[in-house]
């Protein structure tokens, strides 16, 4: 069996096993109790056992063809995730409009490679449109909006 990517594909099951083991330890810490009077940790323990077990078997038998290689494009994922994280953090502080505009701009211009004209126009229209839809029409209570506060 040829393995062009070495053993790297075993990383998936390894993570599964790691999560399972951490959960096992956590469940024991919650106290297992007994079968007749189960503690809060017993059920998570059983489930974590199942997870660890399947992970261990997968570590041996899993088919390497299931795995996609990591590419240079994977770096874009990190960028996308970081952008989203900044969006959420900013949203909690300054409200919806500004972070939404910036996020749309990032995704449209950088990831979508739209021309500036389109990206800017869509970002302005999109952030305002969705703000009106959620905050005004549907009555969702976004955090106090700094930009909308300037207008009113």
């Amino acid at each position: 069996m040829e393995q062009p990517r070495g053993q790297l594909y075993r990383l998936g099951p390894l993570i599964v096993v790691a999560v399972g083991v951490v959960a096992l330890v956590g469940s024991v810490a919650l106290s297992l109790g007994e079968l007749t009077s189960p503690g809060p940790g017993l059920w998570p323990f059983v489930v974590a056992l199942l997870l660890t077990g399947t992970g261990l078997v997968l570590l041996v038998v899993d088919d390497p063809d299931d795995y996609e290689p990591f590419t240079r494009g994977s770096a874009r994922i990190a960028g996308g995730l970081a952008g989203l994280a900044v969006f959420v953090a900013a949203f909690e502080v300054v409200g919806f409009l500004l972070p939404a505009f910036l996020m749309l701009l990032l995704w449209l211009r950088v990831f979508g490679r739209e021309p500036w004209r389109w990206a800017l126009g869509l970002a302005v229209a999109g952030s305002i449109g969705l703000y009106l839809l959620f905050d005004t029409a549907l009555g969702v209570r976004f955090p106090d909006d700094v930009v909308a506060g300037l207008v009113s």
Binding site: A85, V88, A89, A90, E92, V93, V94, R141
Partner: protein, 321 residues
């Protein structure tokens, strides 16, 4: 995740400080802005309905918009945390439900205790009842207790939650009177009703609120005891106290309004006055369901006393359970 929230919170605090809060205004000016009334439970529930009736009255009487905001989650802790993180200026208030609000911090670390609240007043009090399905062989409380004592595994009592009043009070019956009852927590009173009708639990300990009434009227369930000191005018059943359980009077749910501790005294006084007027207003009373509005208005001091009393009552059970 945590760190981001911390940074966000810090930035928010800075921003607020830079803008200058509105808390420095003269107390006479209160209220000069809209008031947020947080509801710790979902829309459509009893707390929400009470909050909206009260909110309507407050708008009329204070001349400011009252925004009722539902913030369900963690038996109310999410809402209380939101309340306590806002300025103590009387513009953010929350509904609260006792004893749940107290049981929350007795059983788990939720980041607050009763000292963090400034109680304003009580809106409604909903008593609780021990019910059995029509087909049950137990016709009175004595029969149920005798059955439980004869076989400790026999009697199961469904409660609407794991850490709520009814579960805690059922455990108190076991502790104080040596009656072996198995508490079976469900997800809300509706599931308890279903389990009772299906014969899956022996009895249920639930609020005697509007949703129980049709099941009693149609004869599908009967009440063995009510958890108040006096009998109730709308439920034909004796109290626990009458049947030899004088301690079992702590399960009434009290719905009140609280502000964050540190809210100026005059603001609290003004709000308390408004609530007193609301509980005398016929329209509001109807909206709240007259049965549950206390005959004598209970203000901030009474609510504070209730907080203390509840804490003392359930401290033991919470530690034991």
């Amino acid at each position: 995740m945590n760190r981001f929230r911390l940074i966000a919170a810090a930035a928010a605090a800075l921003l607020l400080a830079a803008c200058g809060g509105q808390g420095s205004e003269e107390p006479e000016a209160y209220p000069s802005d809209q008031i947020r009334l947080i509801v710790p439970y979902t829309a459509g529930g009893p707390t929400d309905i009470a909050a909206r009736s009260l909110g309507t009255f407050m708008e009329r009487s204070l001349g400011q918009t009252v925004v009722v905001e539902n913030m369900p989650g963690a038996s109310g802790s999410t809402a209380y945390q939101e309340l306590l993180s806002s300025e103590p200026d009387g513009y953010t208030l929350s509904m609260s439900a006792l004893p749940t609000a107290v049981l929350n911090y007795l059983t788990n670390d939720v980041g607050y205790t009763r000292d963090d609240f400034a109680p304003v007043g009580v809106i409604t009090q909903v008593p609780s009842a021990l019910v059995v399905p029509a087909a049950s062989p137990h016709t009175d409380l004595a029969g149920l207790v005798a059955a439980a004592r004869s076989d400790p595994a026999l009697v199961s009592v469904g409660t609407p939650g794991a850490t709520n009043t009814h579960a805690a009070e059922t455990r108190r019956i076991t502790q104080l009177y040596d009656v072996p009852l198995t508490v079976v927590p469900f997800n809300g009173a509706q599931e308890v009703f279903a389990a009772l009708l299906g014969g899956n639990v022996t009895a249920g300990f639930v609020n005697a609120s509007q949703d129980l009434m049709p099941l009693l009227e149609s004869g599908q369930m009967r009440v063995l005891a009510v958890g108040t000191e006096e009998r109730l005018p709308y439920v034909d059943a004796p109290t626990f106290a009458e049947q030899g359980f004088p301690e079992i009077t702590q399960s009434t749910t009290t719905f009140g309004v609280v502000a964050p501790a540190g809210t100026p005294e005059p603001v609290i006084a003004k709000l308390e006055e408004t609530m007193r007027a609301a509980s005398a207003d016929p329209d509001t009373r109807r909206g709240l369901d007259e049965r549950y509005v206390p005959e004598q208005f209970l203000g901030g001091a009474d609510l504070a006393a209730l907080f203390t009393e509840t804490e003392q009552t359930f401290q033991e059970v919470a530690r034991g359970g």
